[in-house]
Structures are given as C-alpha cells and as structure tokens.
C-alpha cells in the first residue's frame, strides 16, 4: 500500500463525508420536500402536435378542480402560446410544454419551474402560486435571433377571501 500523510488522510475522510452528506441532502429534498426534476411524460411528433386532437391544438389553461389547473403551453419561435395565464392565488398548476420547432427553455421566475423544451418531448412540472402578483416566464435556451423577445406572464390574482 502507499503512504499517505496524516493530515491528508484526515482531509480525504472529510471530503468523503461532505460528499455523502450532499447526496443525502439532495435525496431528502427530492423525496420529502418533493422538489422534482422533469422526467418521462410522453412523446409527440413535433410536426403534427398542433393538429386537431392534440392538447396543443388549443393550448391554454384547463381547470381540473377548484384551485387545480393544467396549462398546455406551446413553444415556437419566438412565442409561448398562450403568453398570459390568469389563476387565483393558491392555485396549483401543472405545466405541459412542448415545442413545434427548435429547442426552447421554460422558466418561471421566483418558482421552481425550470425545464428544457425539446421537440418530440413533453416537459411537465407543477407549481403552487400562493402569492398574488405577476410572474414572468422566459425562454432560456437560445432559439434564434428573436430569442430574447420570447416570454410570457402568469398573473396570480388575489382571491375573494384575501381581497376582503
């Protein structure tokens, strides 16, 4: 075996300990705090994804139950459709985003929503909007010369109860 300096041994043990602690922290955050990264949803054909019968033929917000929504969003150069969504505060919205042309990004500022949008794939994440206000959603993957103009808004409106 090889000789390792005593202090360096301590350092090495410490490094291993720190790295294992990180793994456990991340694991805890995703299991108990439920902060999820996107996974497998479904595959689509980007050439036909806006044809009748596809949920992206008429993208937009759908109410599943009071306070529970699905938002189907279509990304294409250089717009999101729809580019504005209104929900009451306290709503839980699940986003389903796909692209009909090149790759795009989808990030809603001040939330945990951050995904790549890849033609042929569906990106899905869920967020709760408790604070009323306007949230900006931006495309954060280069998608051509108009990339920096590709954005939208999510308007979270105060509920009746909160307004009183």
């Amino acid at each position: 075996m090889m000789h390792v300096d005593r202090y360096e041994q301590i350092w090495i043990r410490l490094s291993v300990f720190v790295l294992i602690a990180f793994i456990l922290a991340v694991l805890t955050a995703s299991v108990s705090a439920g902060i999820q990264v996107p996974g497998v949803v479904q595959r689509v054909d980007p050439n036909t994804v806006t044809e009748p019968g596809s949920p992206w033929a008429e993208p937009g917000l759908r109410e599943l139950a009071p306070g529970k929504y699905e938002a189907y969003i279509l990304a294409q150069i250089w717009v999101f459709t729809p580019d504005e969504i209104r929900v009451p505060a306290g709503s839980e919205v699940t986003f389903y985003v796909t692209s009909k042309d090149v790759q795009h990004g989808f990030k809603i500022l001040d939330t945990n929503i951050n995904m790549m949008v890849i033609p042929g794939q569906v990106s899905k994440l869920t967020a709760r909007f408790d604070e009323p206000g306007t949230y900006t959603m931006v495309c954060h993957e280069y998608c051509g010369v108009g990339h920096h103009t590709m954005y939208g808004r999510i308007v979270v409106e105060p509920t009746q109860a909160a307004a009183e």
Partner: protein, 565 residues
C-alpha cells in the same frame, strides 16, 4: 533534460541544452503553431466576449462591426467555439506535445501521427470558421438540433476532434516506445498524466462522434430527413461534461508537477496525484445527465445515478486542493516563510508565470463550489440556464484554465521563441487584472442568475422583460469586463512583444518539473493502465448503456432542420 555537471562553463552548458533542444525541433514547431493558432482564436473570441459584456450592460456596440458580425448571437457562437473549443484544444495539444516529450526526454516516436493530427485540426478549424463567419452556423457552440448549421460546421468540428485523436495516438505510441526502452522504470508523472488525459478524451468524444456521424452530418447534407433532438443532446452531453475535464486536467498537471517547482517546493504526494488522474479517467464520462436534469424524456432515476457519480468525480478535485496547497507550502517554507500563513507571502509573487497560476487556483476554488451547486440534482432548477452558469464557467474554463494557460505561456513562449519574456511587470498586472475582472464579472452573473433568474444566452439589452433591479449587478459585471479588456490587451501585448522584440535568451528555459516528496515505490496499480481503462469502460456502460440502448431503439427522427437566424 540536459544535466549540467559542475565542471562545465556556462557556454558549454548553453551549447548542451541547445543540442538537446535540436532533438525536439519538430515537436517545437508543432507546439509553436498550435499555441499560436490557439492565441489568435482566443483574441477574436475575447473581443466578442467584451461586446457581449457591454451589450448586457446596455451598450450595443455591434453596429460598429456590422456587417462583419451580423448580431449578438453570431458573435456568441464565435465566442463559444473559439474560446471553449479552439483555444483550449489547440493549446492543450500543443502544450502536451512539448510536455510529454520533455517529460520522457525523447522525441515523438511516430511524429507523422502528430503531423497528420495537426493537419486535420487546422483543416477542421478552417471548415468551422467559414460558416461561422458567413453567419451560416449561428447555433452556439453546443449546436443543439434541430437548429441546423451548414454541413461544413459539423464536418469542421469533427475534424478538429479527429485531429486531436491522432495527436493522442502519437502520444500513446511515444509512451509505449519509452516503456519498451525503459523496462521496469515508472512512467514520469507528467507523461503519464498527460496521456491519461488524452485517453479520457478518446473515450469521452465517442458521444459527439456518434452525434455527428449518425445524425448531424448526414442530416445537414440532406441524406436523412430528420433527427431525434433528445438523443442528439444525450450524445452531446456524453462528451460535454468530460470536455470540461479535458480543459481542466492540463491545468492540474501544471499545478501538480510544474508550479511547485516554480515555487521552490516539491510535489507533496505523487502517489495521490497519480490516483487523482486515474480517478478522472474512471469518472469523467458517466456523469453527463447532470447537464440534463431539466430535460424531459429522461427517467429521473438515471438523472439521480449521474448525480451520485458526479459527487464521485468531485472527490479527486478535493484531494487536488490539499496536495497542491501542501506542495506550495513546501515552497513557501523552503523560501524562508514561517508561521501559519507567513509562507504565503514568501511565494514567488514577482514571477508572472507563478502568480497567474496561483490566482487561477484561487478562482477555481470559487468555481468548484458553484459547480457543486449546479450538479446538485434538484438544486439545479434554481439556476439552470440562468446567468449563474456563465458565471460559473468563466471562473473555471475562463479563469482557472485560461489563466493557468497564460501562466504556462509565460515560460513556454520564451522557451519556444528563444527570447526573454517582455515586460515582467506588465505580465504581473495582466494576471491580477484577469483575477479581479473575472471575480467581479462572475460574482455579478452568479447573483443575477440566482436572485432574478436572468436567462443566459440572451441579448439582455434588448429583452422586453429586462428589469431595472438588475442594473447594479450589470454595472458590477461591466467593471469586470473593463478589467478583462485591459488584461486581455496586456496579455497579447506581452506575448507579441516577446516574440517580436524580446531580448535573446542567455540561459535556456527548461520546463519546470517538480520533484516528488514521497520517493517511496509506486504501487503497481498506480502505474498500470488496464484496470483503470476497463473500469472506465465498465462505468460508462453501466451509466449510459441501457438508457442509450433504449433511446436508440425508440428513436424518433422527426425533426427537420431549422434556420432561425
């Protein structure tokens, strides 16, 4: 290296070393060309970086270089390709050509391999530059399909990589020959670790090779109708993460084996150093999904597996931090430094080559920490594709690697040109301004990304959602950019003046090679390739095999090409 005996006169010593250099004439020519091309590429790349920095701060300077550069994104494509791909690859191959042959004290065994490699790399560069310049490849340096560049762009990049493979074959052949000539001897540290880096590169580039050959090249030539963008991304990041180790390991070689010598110290633990490089060979590649945490279509279990392996590949960098610091401390103490921190002041801070590299190490500590954040699975959601990311990698490749290469150039250019470094003080100012410039620039970008979620790869000055709250940070980054502009100017000035007007060397420059403190025998497993190479292949198959198999068998090549610029 020439050994000087006591009885020699200085003249004889010079003649001896010149004679020794004559053996390396071809190697020196290759290195001169490679690092020369690297520096020209970097000068253009940096110029465009400066334009980007000003644009973000609200000063659109692009109208002054139209029609040469059409817009922000063409400039950004050039910035990424020239800096991250051309400057690095050409410099590394050039540096290794010199370092491996000096470390083994023998010329290349099959120089034609390296000459072929060089010709391929230059041809590739010309093919890549043509569409970039004519705005036919404004796809950024990651060229994600289905954005489609001119075919010359893909073929050119492929040739650069294949050229670097040939350079690698030349290095392997030389090492094998040396081992035959020196049975039972252990491979010198620099030659071994440089070859490990090239071996890692061979494995790592299989991903991008598959992407180019099975998808992008036939598709851009019209031979196939469509590509599968997720599969292409997966191939890309198979190479994309080890790519950053391909940049970093040459800097580590200098930190382990050269800088301690320049500091008057010794390599604190050569055995651990070797172990570190083998671990990089083992772990660099099977981690690519940590660039795809936010991608749809990849099972989260696979992402998590790569997250764990990513923490594994952080481990050798932790060891490096200790060993390199301890090696420098040996130097500081040998130079009379006392006390807990007194040795730091005694380090050769008046030597620009040393100073640049020590400052590079400090910036790498910050870059490493922000890198661990990026790698942390769901924490990545906070910063993915925000300006945090360019903040991070300007500390790593833009500072740790680039500033180290500057430091290497400060001894290597004199060695290759036979002239003294022009303007030692200017070179010192260069190192410090790069340090503070990158620090401010990166700090501002990190904060903009983390606090405000500002997107990267975006012409922010023209973005309708631009927020006045960003301004103070953009101003901070502007101060950084101005310092970097000064620093870059000084660097090219020093190098040009050295080559054109430097005083002739009276004493030849030798490659600095640090002695190891632990002279005890190296365990056999630290000098044998087989277990590590097979281990690396095994881990790649484990971490990529089943999922890639699934992606390929369920491939949907439905995306036609788009030209969106």
């Amino acid at each position: 290296m020439a050994v000087q005996s006591m009885a020699q006169t200085p003249d004889e010593a010079v003649r001896d070393v010149h004679a020794a250099e004559a053996r390396f004439a071809l190697e020196n020519t290759l290195t001169r060309w490679l690092i020369g091309i690297a520096m020209v590429a970097l000068s253009i790349g940096i110029l465009l970086g400066i334009f980007q920095g000003f644009e973000h701060a609200g000063l659109d300077l692009y109208r002054f270089i139209r029609p040469a550069i059409k817009d922000y994104y063409q400039g950004l494509s050039l910035h990424g390709v020239l800096n991250a791909l051309v400057w690095t690859t050409f410099f590394i191959v050039g540096f290794f050509t010199l370092a491996i042959t000096r470390s083994l004290d023998r010329p290349l065994s099959h120089p034609w391999l390296n000459v072929v490699g060089f010709v391929l790399m230059v041809t590739g560069l010309v093919l890549t530059a043509y569409p970039l310049w004519w705005n036919l490849a404004t796809v950024l340096y990651t060229f994600y399909p289905p954005m489609q560049a001119d075919w010359t762009f893909y073929v050119g990049l492929t040739l650069i990589v294949v050229g670097s493979w040939f350079a690698g074959y030349g290095f392997f052949a030389t090492l094998i020959r040396w081992r035959k000539e020196n049975p039972g001897k252990r491979t010198p540290f620099i030659a071994l670790t440089a070859n490990i880096t090239m071996a890692m590169w061979q494995l790592a580039t299989l991903g991008v090779a598959a992407e180019m050959l099975t998808q992008l090249i036939p598709w851009s030539l019209g031979l196939i109708e469509g590509v599968d963008p997720l599969l292409a991304r997966t191939y890309f990041w198979f190479t994309g993460h080890p790519l950053v180790y391909f940049w970093l390991l040459p800097a580590y070689i200098s930190w382990y084996a050269m800088v301690p010598k320049q500091a008057g110290g010794k390599l604190f633990s050569e055995n651990l150093g070797r172990l570190v490089f083998w671990l990089f060979l083992l772990l660099s590649t099977p981690v690519g999904f940590h660039h795809q945490y936010t991608d749809p279509g990849i099972p989260t279990g696979w992402k998590f597996l790569h997250a764990i392996l990513t923490y594994g590949v952080a481990f050798p960098s932790f060891i490096t931090a200790f060993t390199v610091c301890a090696s420098l401390e040996l130097g500081g103490r040998a130079r009379g430094g006392k006390g807990w921190f007194g040795w730091i002041r005694r380090l050769p801070w008046n030597d620009p080559s040393y100073t640049a590299q020590n400052l590079a190490m400090i910036l790498f500590a910050f870059g490493g920490i922000s890198g661990i954040t990026n790698a942390s699975y769901n924490v990545n959601l906070a910063i993915h594709n925000t300006t945090w990311v360019p903040g991070h990698f300007h500390l790593t490749v833009g500072a740790a690697v680039t500033l180290t290469f500057f430091g290497i150039a400060y001894w290597m250019v004199p060695k290759l040109s036979g002239r003294q470094l022009f303007g030692r003080r200017t070179a010192l100012v260069q190192a410090w301004t790069w340090f503070f410039g990158m620090l401010l620039f990166a700090n501002a970008f990190h904060l903009l990304g983390l606090r405000f979620g500002v997107p990267r790869r975006t012409m922010l000055g023209a973005a309708p959602y631009r927020d006045p709250a960003w301004t103070p940070f953009l101003m901070e980054s502007l101060v950084g950019v101005i310092l970097l502009t000064i620093s870059a100017t000084l660097f090219f000035y020093v190098i040009l003046m050295t080559v054109l007007a430097g005083k002739k060397l009276t004493k030849p420059v030798e490659m600095p090679v640090a002695q190891a403190l632990d002279q005890d025998k190296i365990p056999a497993w630290l000098d044998s390739w087989k277990p590590w190479v097979w281990g690396a292949i095994f881990l790649i198959i484990l971490a990529y095999g089943p999922i890639l198999y699934q992606f390929i068998s369920e491939m949907q090549p439905t995306s036609p090409g788009f030209r969106v610029w």
